[in-house]
C-alpha cells in the first residue's frame, strides 16, 4: 500500500514520456490525483493510537543490512497528505500554462514527489538517507532547466536591492549545500547502525537502532551530522546561504512544492530520527538548537521585512516559520511538538498558494518586485480576497490554523523557560509586519499607470481556491491533526523527556 503511494507518481511520470506531448500534463495531474487518493485511502484505515502501521519490510541489500522498510505513523501521515495535496496545484498550474519540454518537466516533478514521499515513509535509516539525497536530484534539474537568470543587465526587474543570479550558480550552490549536510548524515547513519549493533547483526532499522541505543559519547557527534543535513534542508539560520539565489532562479510551481514540502523533511527528520535515536545529545544541545531556532525566527522575519522580491519575502518568512517548528520540537514536550507538526502542515498549505499567487501577480504586473506593484484589489477583488486569506494565515491571525500552531509551540517553549517563549513571540509580531507589508504593496496603494489588473481566471481559481479552502477548514478544526498526531509525537519526545529529567 505504502509502496504504491511512493511509486505511483514516478510511474505516471514515466507514462508521460510515452504519451503525446499534449497529454503529458494531464497524465501527470492524474498521477498526482491518484496518489492523493491512495494517501486518503491510507488515512481512512489509519488508527492514531496504532503506532507504526501499513508496515512493509523486505530485504533490499542483505549484504549491507539495508531493508526496504516502510511504515506510517501519526507524524508522517499528515506530512504525506500535505505532500500529495501540494503537488496537485503545482502540476495543475503548470499544466494550464504549458512548459517547455513537458515530458521531462513532469517526470522530474513527479520523481520529486516519489522521493519526498519515500523520505516520509522510510523506516530504514539508510533508505531514509537515500530518499533524502534523491529528493534534491529532480529539483536540481527542475530549477536548472526551467529556471531563469535574474537581475542581469537585460532583466527588466533589475533592482539595486537584488544582485545578479545565474541559474547555474544558484543550483550548484543549492545542491552543494544540501549534499554537504546529507553526506555527513550518511556517515552518521552508518556510524549509528554500526555502533548500536556493537558486533551483533548490522541493521539500519530505525526502531531497532532506537531500541539498542547509542552510547552518549557517540551521540554527540552523530547528532551534528544529522542536524547539519536537516538544518540545511529547512533552511535554518546560519545554513540558509543557498536559499535566496535558488528561490530567485527557480520556476514558481516547482518552488511552491519545494518550499512547502521539502523543507519539512528536515524538521520531520528531527522528530523521526534525531530525538528518539540520540536523546542524550538532543538534551545536551537543546539550548544550542533553541538559540539557532530563535535566530532563524528573528533573522528570517527581519529579512522578509526588508526584501522587495516577493519570492525572497516568502523564502525568508519560511526561514522564520521553520525556526518556530524547530523550537517546538526542541521544547521536548507534547505541546511544542504537536504544535510543530501542525505548523509544518499549515505552513506547507499556505506556501503553495502564496507562490502561485506570486506567479499570477507577475503575470499581471510583469514583475515580482514589490516596488512597481499595487492597487490590484480595486480591480480584482476575488484575487485580493484569496491573497488576503493567505496573508492572514501567514501572519497567524487568531482563528487561523497558524495561530493555533504557534500558540502550541509558544506554550511548549513556555514550559521550558519563559524567556524562550517571550523572545519567540517577537517573531509572531514581526510576521504581522512583513505579511501586511506584502499585501499592502501589492493589493492596495495607488495603481501604477497602464498596469494589467485582470481578475483571477476561473481556471487558475480552480487550482488555487481548493488549497485556500483547506487552509480555512484547518483553521476551524486543527484538532484533526492535533489528535491524530498526538500519540506518535508524544512517544517521539517521551524518550528525550525521560533523559532530561
Amino acid at each position: 500500500m505504502l509502496s504504491s503511494i511512493i511509486w505511483a507518481p514516478l510511474v505516471f511520470g514515466l507514462i508521460g514520456l510515452l504519451v503525446p506531448k499534449r497529454l503529458t500534463p494531464w497524465v501527470a495531474a492524474l498521477g498526482a490525483v491518484v496518489t492523493l487518493g491512495l494517501s486518503i485511502g491510507v488515512l481512512a484505515g489509519f488508527d492514531p493510537d496504532g503506532g507504526m502501521q501499513y508496515v512493509t519490510d523486505v530485504s533490499w541489500i542483505p549484504g549491507l543490512g539495508v531493508d526496504y522498510s516502510l511504515g506510517i505513523d501519526g507524524v508522517s501521515i499528515f506530512l504525506v497528505l500535505l505532500t500529495t495535496i501540494a503537488w496537485i496545484p503545482a502540476i495543475g498550474f503548470s499544466a494550464l500554462r504549458g512548459t517547455e519540454r513537458p515530458a521531462l518537466f513532469y517526470l522530474m516533478l513527479l520523481a520529486g514527489e516519489t522521493s519526498t514521499l519515500g523520505a516520509f515513509l522510510a523506516q530504514d535509516l539508510l533508505l531514509f538517507v537515500l530518499f533524502f539525497d534523491l529528493m534534491i536530484v529532480p529539483f536540481y534539474f527542475l530549477f536548472g532547466i526551467w529556471g531563469r537568470d535574474r537581475g542581469g543587465e537585460d532583466d527588466p526587474e533589475k533592482s539595486p536591492g537584488n544582485g545578479k543570479v545565474t541559474v547555474q550558480s544558484a543550483t550548484l550552490k543549492m545542491i552543494v549545500f544540501t549534499l554537504i549536510g546529507s553526506l555527513l548524515m550518511l556517515v552518521g547513519a552508518i556510524a549509528a547502525a554500526v555502533i548500536s549493533a556493537d558486533g551483533g547483526e548490522l541493521t539500519f532499522s530505525i526502531q531497532t537502532i532506537v531500541a539498542r541505543g547509542l552510547p552518549a559519547g557517540s551521540q554527540n557527534w552523530i547528532f551534528w551530522f544529522f542536524a547539519a543535513a536537516f538544518l540545511v534542508k529547512m533552511p535554518a539560520f546560519p545554513l540558509h546561504g543557498w536559499m535566496p539565489d535558488s528561490y530567485r532562479a527557480a520556476p514558481l510551481p516547482a518552488l511552491a512544492v519545494f518550499s512547502a514540502v521539502l523543507s519539512k523533511v528536515g524538521a520531520y527528520g528531527f522528530l523521526r530520527v534525531v530525538l528518539p535515536m540520540m536523546p542524550e545529545a538532543s538534551d545536551l544541545f537543546q539550548t544550542t538548537m533553541l538559540v539557532l531556532a530563535i535566530c532563524s525566527i528573528v533573522y528570517g522575519s527581519a529579512m522578509a521585512f526588508t526584501k522587495t522580491d516577493l519570492r525572497l519575502v516568502l523564502g525568508f518568512s519560511s526561514v522564520a516559520q521553520l525556526g518556530f517548528i524547530t523550537a517546538g520540537i526542541f521544547a521536548f514536550n507534547g505541546s511544542g511538538a504537536e504544535g510543530a507538526v501542525l505548523q509544518m502542515v499549515n505552513h506547507g498549505l499556505v506556501v503553495v498558494p502564496a507562490f502561485l499567487i506570486v506567479a499570477l501577480i507577475a503575470e499581471r504586473t510583469g514583475s515580482e518586485e514589490l516596488g512597481p506593484m499595487g492597487g490590484l484589489a480595486k480591480k480584482a477583488p476575488v484575487f485580493a480576497v484569496i491573497f488576503l486569506i493567505v496573508t492572514m494565515a501567514t501572519l497567524a491571525i487568531p482563528a487561523s490554523g497558524n495561530f493555533i500552531g504557534e500558540f502550541f509551540i509558544l506554550n511548549g517553549l513556555f514550559q521550558v523557560d519563559a524567556a524562550w517563549a517571550i523572545v519567540a513571540s517577537v517573531g509572531v509580531a514581526l510576521a504581522a509586519f512583513y505579511a501586511l507589508r506584502m499585501y499592502q504593496l501589492t493589493m492596495h496603494n495607488p495603481l501604477p499607470e497602464g498596469s494589467d489588473t485582470r481578475e483571477i481566471s476561473l481556471r487558475d481559481a480552480l487550482v488555487v481556491i481548493p488549497m485556500v479552502a483547506i487552509v480555512v477548514v484547518l483553521a476551524f478544526c486543527p484538532q484533526l491533526i492535533i489528535h491524530g498526531s498526538e500519540p506518535a509525537v508524544d512517544s517521539a519526545v517521551a524518550v528525550v523527556k525521560e533523559v532530561a529529567q
Binding site: L64, G144, V167, L183, A191
Partner: protein, 511 residues
C-alpha cells in the same frame, strides 16, 4: 635418476592460455590482408573466450605454477572487469585515428598484451609474477599512449608515461628487493611467514622502507596522490579509447595486486602500513577533487577525478578487512560502468567536434541529443555518488567498511571529497542541460581553430565523423554501462555478491 613431469592445471591456466592464444592469432592475422580487417572481431572473440574461461573457473580456489599464481575469487572478478574494459576499448577504438595509424593489428596486439599482464597480475602471488605482470601491463600501455602518431600530445603523453612509469616500476623493484632481504622469500605467504619468524623484522627499518617503496610504486600505477602528476597529462594526451582502458582496467589489475600484496604478504605488518595508506588515501581524495575543479578538458577532469576515486578505493585496503576488500571491488565494478559511459561520450563528441574534449563541446547537448546527454548525466551523477546509482551504493559500502573498522575520519574524508567533487561533476551536467548550444548545428560545424595542432597532414581531419552518435559500436557500450550504473544502484545485490566472492578469497588471511 627419476624425473617427475610437473602436473599442469590446464583448467586453472585457461584464461591465460586463451588470452595468449588470442594475442598470437591477432599478430598473425595481420600478415594476411584478407583477414586483417577482422582484427577487432578477433580481439573481441579472444576476450569473450577469456571471459568464458574466467566464468568457468568462477569457484576456483587453487595455486598454479608452484604457487606463483593463484586463481581465486579476487583474481577472477578483477580479471573479468579488466577484460570487459578491454573489450569496450576495442569497440571505442573502431575508426579511431590511433588504431589506424598504428597499424591495425599493432594496436590490438598491444592492448591484448597489456590485458594479459593484468590477468597475470590479478593472480600473482609471488614477487616474480607480480613484477612480470606489472611490466607486461605497463610497457604496451606506454606505446599505446603514443599511437596517435600525428598528434603531438599523444606522443608526449606516451613518453611522459614511459618515464614516470619506469620510475614507479624501479621504485617498486627496489622495495621488493628490500622485502626479500627482510623475509628471505618471494612467495607472498612465505614473505608473511618469514617476516613473522625473523627476530624484530616486523619493525625493522629495512622492511618498512621496502613496504614504503612498494606502496609508492603501486601508487604511481593507480595514480594515488602525490604520485599522480602524470595522470592528467597522460589521460588528456593519449587516444581516448586508450585513456578509458587505462583509467579502468589498470586500476582493476593494480588494485588486485595492491590488495593481495598488502593483505597477504604484508598482512602481519597491517598496523604499520595502515596509517601510511590512510594518509595517502586522504591526500588523494583532496588533491584529486580540488585539482579537477579547475579543469576545462573533460579528459583531464576525469583524470583528476580518477585520482580522487583511487583514494576512495584505497580506503578499502586501509581497513585490512574482508568488508573493505568487498567494498573496494564493488566500487571498482561501479567505477568501470561510470567511466565507460563517460569516456564513451567523450569519444563520440571528440569525433563529432574535431577532436576537442573541452567541456564546451557539450553545450546544449541535453536539448539536441538526449541520447548522448543522458548517459553522461548518469555517469556524472554516479561518479558524484548520488542515488539512485551504483556510485551511491559504492560509497555507502566503503563508508560502512571504514566505520566498522574504526576509520571514521577517513569515511568523513570521503564525504568531504564527494562534496568538493559535486563542483565539477555537476558543472558537466549543467553544461549539458542548462546552457544553450553555441552553434545551431553542432553536427555540421567543425571549428577548425579548435582542432589540435597537427604535425603533418591535411587541413580537415579525415577522422572527424559527424555521424559518430549513430555508430552502434560507440553507443552500445555507453548505453549498457549507464544502464548498469542505474540498475546496480536500484538492485545492488548481484554486485554485492560479486564483491563478496572476491573478498571471500582472502578469508584465510583477513578477518
Amino acid at each position: 635418476m627419476s624425473f617427475d613431469a610437473p602436473t599442469i592445471d590446464y583448467a586453472g591456466l585457461s584464461p591465460i592460455i586463451a588470452l595468449t592464444t588470442g594475442l598470437l592469432v591477432i599478430v598473425l592475422a595481420a600478415v594476411f590482408d584478407s583477414i586483417k580487417r577482422f582484427g577487432p572481431a578477433l580481439a573481441l572473440l579472444a576476450y569473450a573466450v577469456t571471459a568464458g574461461c574466467l566464468i568457468w573457473q568462477w569457484d576456483a580456489n587453487i595455486d598454479l605454477v608452484s604457487g606463483a599464481l593463484r586463481l581465486d575469487g579476487l583474481a577472477v572478478t578483477l580479471s573479468l572487469l579488466a577484460v570487459i574494459s578491454a573489450a569496450v576499448a576495442v569497440l571505442l577504438a573502431i575508426g579511431d585515428p590511433s588504431e589506424t595509424q598504428a597499424g591495425r593489428s599493432d594496436w590490438l596486439a598491444l592492448l591484448t598484451g597489456s590485458l594479459l599482464g593484468m590477468v597475470i597480475l590479478a593472480q600473482a602471488t609471488s614477487m616474480l609474477t607480480f613484477f612480470i605482470g606489472l611490466e607486461l601491463l605497463s610497457i604496451p600501455l606506454y606505446a599505446l599512449c603514443g599511437t596517435n602518431l600525428r598528434r603531438r600530445e599523444s606522443l608526449e603523453s606516451g613518453l611522459k608515461y614511459l618515464i614516470v612509469g619506469s620510475v614507479g616500476s624501479a621504485t617498486l623493484l627496489y622495495g621488493l628487493a628490500m622485502i626479500y632481504g627482510a623475509s628471505g622469500a618471494t612467495g607472498f605467504q612465505a614473505i608473511a611467514d618469514g617476516l613473522q619468524a625473523g627476530d624484530g623484522m616486523l619493525t625493522d627499518s629495512l622492511t618498512l622502507v621496502g613496504v614504503g617503496m612498494v606502496a609508492v610504486g603501486l601508487a604511481f600505477k593507480v595514480s594515488i596522490a602525490p604520485f599522480h602528476q602524470w595522470t592528467p597529462d597522460v589521460y588528456q594526451g593519449a587516444p581516448t579509447p586508450v585513456t578509458a582502458f587505462m583509467a579502468v582496467a589498470t586500476k582493476a589489475a593494480a588494485f588486485a595486486i595492491f590488495i593481495r600484496f598488502f593483505l597477504v604478504a604484508l598482512g602481519p605488518l597491517a598496523d604499520q602500513w595502515d596509517v601510511m595508506l590512510a594518509a595517502l588515501a586522504a591526500l588523494s581524495i583532496v588533491v584529486g577533487n580540488v585539482g579537477a575543479l579547475a579543469q576545462t578538458s573533460l579528459k583531464r577532469m576525469l583524470g583528476y577525478s580518477g585520482v580522487a576515486q583511487a583514494g576512495y578505493m584505497l580506503a578499502g585496503i586501509v581497513t585490512a578487512t574482508q568488508a573493505g576488500v568487498n567494498a573496494l571491488v564493488f566500487y571498482l565494478a561501479a567505477y568501470v560502468a561510470m567511466n565507460v559511459a563517460a569516456f564513451g561520450i567523450v569519444v563520440i563528441r571528440e569525433r563529432q567536434s574535431g577532436f576537442s574534449d573541452d567541456i564546451s563541446t557539450l553545450r546544449g547537448l541535453g536539448r539536441e541529443k538526449p541520447s548522448l546527454a543522458w548517459p553522461l548525466t548518469i555517469a556524472m551523477l554516479a561518479l558524484a555518488g548520488l542515488p539512485p546509482t551504483a556510485g551511491f551504493i559504492g560509497k555507502l559500502y566503503l563508508i560502512e567498511a571504514l566505520v566498522d573498522s574504526d576509520w571514521t575520519w577517513l569515511a568523513v574524508m570521503i564525504a568531504i571529497g564527494t562534496m568538493i567533487s559535486l563542483g565539477y561533476y555537476l558543472r558537466v551536467v549543467a553544461t549539458l542541460w542548462m546552457s544553450p548550444a553555441d552553434q545551431t548545428d553542432t553536427d555540421a560545424a567543425i571549428d577548425t581553430a579548435a582542432l589540435p595542432p597537427q604535425i603533418a597532414g591535411a587541413q580537415v581531419d579525415p577522422f572527424v565523423d559527424p555521424q559518430a552518435d549513430r555508430r552502434w559500436y560507440l553507443l552500445a557500450p555507453v548505453i549498457i554501462a549507464s544502464a548498469a550504473a542505474i540498475f546496480f544502484g536500484v538492485i545492488p545485490q548481484p554486485l554485492v555478491e560479486l564483491a563478496k566472492h572476491a573478498g571471500d578469497a582472502l578469508s584465510v588471511w583477513v578477518p
